[in-house]
Every structure is written in structure tokens, then in C-alpha cells.
């Protein structure tokens, strides 16, 4: 039964993309003038868009959870590639989508000690400050350059997902001086075994420096940054995978807040498209968590990698004007 729902969800997603892509194509053929380029408004009544976005993001939310990626990393390339919305609004909405998901997950992760404030706070300060810079850079760049960079980034993320080998419990021989000073260590209980696992970090300085880049990219493309947070916290700094995933999700609630304000202040958030996207994705995430027990995450993960490669390629070609 659940598998049927999953297959139906995937089919609906593809159908939605084809439909929205065709409509965006119609819009683009309209010509350069504003009215002509907005075939969407003439062909599609306005009330259809919230319904389409709600349904599309609901499916996206399910797939994102099953694939273990954030919603925004799928939302931005797919919606900018297949829907008629301009990248400015897609990035503003993408950040709010990532922010809402992170805020909803944050309390549970913090209470269970799966997200650590001591690990998150110093990292968040760097990433959130840099995400403001990234947002300004992103809003200042011409759209075609931004599309090009977005395409390259999305394809890079797909390759990263394909090749990165996260370690469940990395071996950290010695906590470095910065980690000691910041108290980046902790203890959590593994629910499956009841075992208490202590952890600490190392290579803290290079880790913190990488968050400059991560923050910049989160703000520039409105992608969230879970895809980058987890490998840095886990593989570089040596946090256990559960702590890295939990802290990364919580981190997004801080990093994306600062960039979201920049987009909000610049007028890049249109409620008509932003709110159904946020609500759809969150509802989808709840269903996705329930389906996780029966789904085949490996297959879905490969499917998402394929979708990312495809949508990244599309953004890249759009940037080149092809």
C-alpha cells in the first residue's frame, strides 16, 4: 500500500514537472515584453498556482526525506528550472522552505541532544554572517551568471552525494585546542542499543573556515546547506553521523534566517508562491518520515541524484542561454 503511494507520488511529481515545464515554455515563447512573457497568467488562473505548488512541494517533501536531503536543495533547481518563476523569488522561497523545515525539526533534535548547541553556535555565527554576504552577492549578480553557478553547484552536490562516504562514528584521537576551548564535545544515547556514546571534534579551524564558504553558498543560491554541513561536521571535524545530521539541520535554522531576512527585505518573497510551498513541503516531510520504514532509500537516493544532475544541467544550460 505504502509502496503504491510512493510510486503514485513519484508519478505525480514527474507529471507536475512536465506540466509546469510546458507552461513555462509557453510563457517563455511569449517574447521579451513583460506581458508576453507571462503566458502563465493568461493560460493558467492564479488560483491554480498555489494548488500546483502545494501538491508539488508535498511530493518533494516526501522524496527529500526518503533521499536524506533538505527540501530546498531540490526545490530551487526544480522550481527555477521547470516553473515560470524568476530565480530571485525561487531563492527567497527556497530559503524560507529550508528555514521552516529546520525550525520544525530543531526542538526535537535539541531535546534529544542530537543537535549540540556547543557545536552549532560557533559554526552558526560564521555561517550566518557569511550567508548575508552571499545573499547580497547573489542578488547583485546577473541572472544568467547565477543560473550558471547554480547549475555547477547542483551538479557538484549530486556528485558529492554519490561519492561521499560518511562515517557513523569517526575516530577522534585528540581534541584540538579550539575544540577544547569551545567545549565541542558531548554525550548522546544511541536509541537502538541504549549505548551512551561520547564524542569530541578535531580539525576545528579548517572546519570553521569551510563554514565561510558554506554560508556564502547558502545565501547566494537559497539552497540551505545540509549537503555541505554534514560532510564537514562528520568527515572533517569528526562528529558522529547522528550528531552531524542533527546539528546540521538545526544549524540551517540559524544560517538561513539571516539570508532569508535579506531576501525578505529586498521584496523577493511573494506570499502567493511562498506559503503553499512551505506548507506543502512540511506536510510532505511528515508523510516521508512515516514512509521511511518501508521505502527503499537507496533507490530513491539514486533517483534524487539523477534529478539533481538533470536539473543542475538544465540550470547550467539556461545560464549559457541554450
Amino acid at each position: 500500500m505504502r509502496t503504491t503511494i510512493l510510486v503514485a507520488a513519484a508519478c505525480l511529481l514527474v507529471a507536475g514537472l512536465v506540466w509546469a515545464g510546458a507552461d513555462a515554455g509557453v510563457a517563455a515563447e511569449g517574447g521579451a515584453a513583460v506581458n508576453a512573457m507571462t503566458g502563465a497568467s493568461s493560460d493558467t488562473p492564479w488560483w491554480m498556482w498555489p494548488i500546483i505548488l502545494l501538491g508539488f512541494c508535498f511530493i518533494l517533501g516526501i522524496i527529500a526525506v526518503l533521499a536524506g536531503v533538505g527540501g530546498a536543495v531540490l526545490f530551487v533547481p526544480l522550481v527555477s528550472g521547470f516553473f515560470p518563476f524568476h530565480l530571485d523569488f525561487v531563492r527567497g522561497t527556497g530559503l524560507l522552505v529550508a528555514l521552516a523545515g529546520a525550525l520544525a525539526a530543531g526542538p526535537g533534535l535539541l531535546r534529544r541532544n542530537l543537535a549540540s548547541l556547543r557545536l552549532a553556535l560557533p559554526v552558526a555565527l560564521i555561517a550566518s554572517a557569511c550567508s548575508i554576504v552571499g545573499a547580497f552577492v547573489g542578488l547583485a549578480l546577473p541572472t544568467d551568471i547565477l543560473q550558471l553557478c547554480l547549475g555547477i553547484t547542483i551538479m557538484f552536490i549530486a556528485i558529492l552525494l554519490l561519492t561521499s562516504k560518511n562515517v557513523v562514528r569517526p575516530h577522534v584521537e585528540k581534541q584540538d585546542a579550539i575544540s577544547l576551548a569551545l567545549g565541542m564535545s558531548g554525550l548522546y544515547t544511541e536509541p537502538s542499543t541504549g549505548e551512551e556514546i561520547s564524542w569530541k571534534t578535531h580539525r576545528t579551524l579548517p572546519g570553521l573556515l569551510l563554514f565561510i564558504l558554506i554560508g556564502m553558498m547558502a545565501g547566494m543560491f537559497g539552497l540551505g546547506a545540509g549537503w555541505a554541513n554534514v560532510p564537514v561536521l562528520n568527515m572533517l571535524m569528526g562528529a558522529p553521523l547522528k550528531i552531524a545530521v542533527g546539528t546540521s539541520k538545526f544549524l540551517l535554522s540559524i544560517t538561513d534566517t539571516s539570508a532569508a531576512w535579506v531576501y525578505l527585505n529586498k521584496g523577493c518573497v511573494i506570499p502567493l508562491m511562498a506559503i503553499p510551498s512551505i506548507i506543502g513541503l512540511m506536510l510532505g516531510s511528515f508523510v516521508g518520515v512515516r514512509l521511511l520504514a518501508v521505502a527503499k532509500p537507496k533507490f530513491i537516493r539514486y533517483m534524487v541524484i539523477g534529478v539533481l544532475l538533470f536539473s543542475g544541467g538544465r540550470a547550467f544550460l539556461k545560464g549559457l542561454g541554450i
Binding site: V34, S41, W46, H86, L103, R111, F136, G183, W261, G267
Partner: protein
């Protein structure tokens, strides 16, 4: 072996509780205000036609054609259906800043000056981003 982090720290629980209520309140407000907007209970500032005509263009087009204010200008248009939605959005975007405030007190009580300073710095960063001092300008 015990550690000083073997239980979830109190300040972390406090942060989690504030985040929980703030986030779900924000989402509830967002849903209600969206229904008010979409069902035309309150007239929008920017008509649906203008929104769907300009969202294919860079943001400047939407701002000019729709006469949309930047920065905190939305706060003066809360009586309009579309801008009423910004209440929930602003609550979501403002929650992190609010949650950081009790952290400063908690860390100072623990004599953890370094983390109190980090929390203060984060509040300043978020307040700067939210203020619109720089971001409120045109595209």
C-alpha cells in the same frame, strides 16, 4: 563515565521549547492569513494579475509594477491580504533571534563568557540582517 554534557543542558531545553511554540505558531498564523488572502477576505495590495505577470521577471519589476515597499515597509500594509501573510513569515524568521536572548543569561549564569559573547554576536548579526539597513535598498 560521566560528563558534564551527559544530559541535555538546560539552556538547550529552553531554546527547544521556545522554538517549538514559535515555529508552530508561525505556521498556524501563516495558514490562517493565507486563507484570508486567497479567499479574498481582505483585498491585496498587489493584484493576483500583477503578481502572476511579474513573478517571471527579476524582483525589481515586481517592486515597480506592484508598488511593493522594501525593508520593513510591509508592516504598514498589514491591512492588505497579501502583506498580512508577512506576520507569520516574520515570526518564523524572527524566532532564532528571540531564542538566542535567554541563552545569553543562561551562559552568563554558568560563567561561560565565551558562549555568552558568541550569542550576543549572533543576535547582532541576525538583527543586522533583519533591520534592512543594507538589504532594504533596490535591486
Amino acid at each position: 563515565m560521566t560528563s558534564k554534557y551527559d544530559k541535555t543542558p538546560k539552556e538547550q531545553i529552553l531554546y527547544a521549547n521556545m522554538l517549538f511554540y514559535g515555529c508552530w505558531s508561525g505556521l498556524a498564523i501563516m495558514t490562517v492569513t493565507y486563507v484570508i488572502y486567497a479567499f479574498g477576505i481582505l483585498d491585496p495590495h498587489v493584484s493576483m494579475d500583477v503578481v502572476t505577470r511579474t513573478w517571471t521577471q527579476p524582483v525589481q519589476e515586481y517592486l515597480t509594477v506592484g508598488q511593493v515597499p522594501v525593508g520593513w515597509g510591509w508592516a504598514t500594509l498589514l491591512h492588505k491580504g497579501d502583506f498580512l501573510n508577512f506576520l507569520g513569515i516574520a515570526l518564523l524568521a524572527g524566532m532564532t533571534l528571540v531564542c538566542y536572548i535567554p541563552l545569553i543569561v543562561a551562559y552568563l549564569r554558568k560563567k561561560d563568557t565565551l558562549f555568552a559573547m558568541i550569542a550576543i554576536a549572533e543576535i547582532l548579526v541576525l538583527a543586522f540582517a533583519a533591520s534592512g539597513i543594507v538589504g532594504g535598498g533596490a535591486h
